[in-house]
């Protein structure tokens, strides 16, 4: 039961607490480049998750065989192999999406998110935990890319996943689907989420302080009485 709970925690920490995009600021290049629409964001996140899960599994499996001096090079080769698989599969099965993502699929190789997880997690943990961690991080990445792509798509071309959601009289802001819009949207979103977690932290802090004083009162009272 206990291990199950920690496994669940391993998964959920990637969703929000340690969200790769909003909190760790990793994997920025694909995040900004492909999120002109929600569907592109989803495709990118799924491809990244696939690579992340499989390379985490392999690397945690052979973590004791890899000499420390050449570990980065070995990780990169393993990651590049899975990226090649994803690229070829996408070219064959989803040629349209593959075309619109262009060179950003091969660039998954140098996504700092993947290498970062291998270095800080898979190289020290068992296969099961690494896979769960990779799934969590991948889901966090998916949430971030879907949010960013969705917002840019709605404001920039008044559709979501290809369906029109805003009325015709709304003039789409072209800037949102241009590079500048990507930077601005992500910057504002990050600020917004930071603000949320700052507020939450303050609330928790206040609660702790209040609990502390509530506990102290009965101790203080008899002391005063003795004097």
């Amino acid at each position: 039961m206990k291990s199950k709970a920690t496994l669940l925690k391993e998964y959920t920490k990637g969703l929000w607490e340690n969200n790769p995009v909003f909190k760790q600021v990793l994997g920025m290049c694909p995040t900004l480049a492909v999120t002109v629409s929600a569907i592109n964001g989803i495709a990118m996140a799924l491809a990244t998750t696939f690579v992340l899960v499989f390379s985490s599994a392999i690397i945690s499996l052979i973590r004791k065989l890899i000499p420390t001096q050449v570990r980065i090079a070995s990780y990169i080769v393993i990651i590049a192999t899975f990226v090649t698989i994803v690229d070829l599969v996408m070219k064959a099965q989803f040629p349209e999406i593959s075309k619109s993502l262009g060179p950003y699929i091969p660039l998954i190789v140098v996504n700092c998110l993947i290498l970062g997880r291998q270095e800080s997690f898979s190289s020290k943990n068992t296969v099961g935990r690494s896979i769960v961690d990779a799934l969590g991080m991948g889901s966090g990445f998916l949430i971030a890319l879907f949010l960013l792509g969705g917002i840019r798509e709605i404001i920039g071309s008044r559709t979501l996943l290809g369906f029109q959601v805003l009325p015709d009289f709304y003039e789409p802001w072209l800037i949102m689907i241009l590079p500048a819009g990507a930077f601005l949207t992500l910057g504002l979103m990050m600020g917004f989420f930071n603000n949320l977690s700052l507020k939450k932290k303050k609330k928790e802090h206040d609660a702790v302080v209040r609990a502390h004083f509530a506990k102290r009162k009965p101790i203080l009272a008899p002391e005063g009485g003795i004097e």
Binding site: M28, A33, I76, L107, V110, L178, P179
Partner: protein, 190 residues
């Protein structure tokens, strides 16, 4: 003339950072101080030019003749990683002042998407050898320009009163957005 066009297109009009989103990690991470940002830009330019030369040679002399194009990602990333290591060792032996200026940035460059992006774009656009080298120089110059401007702005931002939630990465991204807007002004030039 063609070569001049390639240079300006890579450096300014299609700036790697501000319109292709390549090399965002160092762009956000190492742009606190102008001097270190400039060194990072120089180191990246240096590696970019060498990568352009070596990856062109590998692709056209090894991968194409043997029908191994599907191995290009693995081959390129391995070449870049070992090249960066080699360059670091070489600089350390040859020039200590240069090593002190660029040394700490070199390992970071391996995972800089701009380098692998450059190698992939060379293949995608079918550049000749000379064009590839010029493209590498232009991309490096563009990266240096973008990261230096960013560092200059961030040094000024230190004096500004930024809301707590926006300090660090968020405000940097917003500034980058405004910079990208400014660079869009060049888009009609070529």
């Amino acid at each position: 003339m063609e070569l001049v066009l390639i240079f300006f297109s890579a450096a300014i009009v299609n700036n790697f950072v501000l319109s292709y989103f390549l090399g965002i990690c160092p762009f956000i991470g190492v742009s606190n101080k102008l001097s270190s940002a400039f060194s990072m830009g120089m180191a990246t330019t240096f590696v970019m030019v060498i990568t352009a030369i070596v990856s062109w040679l590998i692709y056209h002399l090894i991968l194409v003749p043997f029908d191994l194009e599907f191995l290009q990602y693995v081959a390129f990333i391995l070449v870049i990683a070992s090249l960066v290591q080699f360059v670091e060792m070489f600089i350390k032996k040859v020039s200590q002042p240069l090593y002190r200026a660029l040394g700490i940035f070199l390992p970071l460059i391996t995972t800089n998407c701009a380098i692998l992006g450059l190698a992939l774009f060379l293949v995608l656009r079918d550049y000749s050898f000379v064009e590839s080298v010029i493209y590498g120089v232009g991309a490096g110059a563009g990266f240096t320009l973008a990261i230096s401007i960013m560092a200059g702005i961030r040094e000024e931002l230190d004096l500004a009163d930024i809301p707590k939630a926006f300090q660090g990465a968020p405000i940097t991204l917003v500034v980058a957005g405004i910079l990208a807007l400014a660079f869009m002004g060049f888009s009609g030039m070529l």
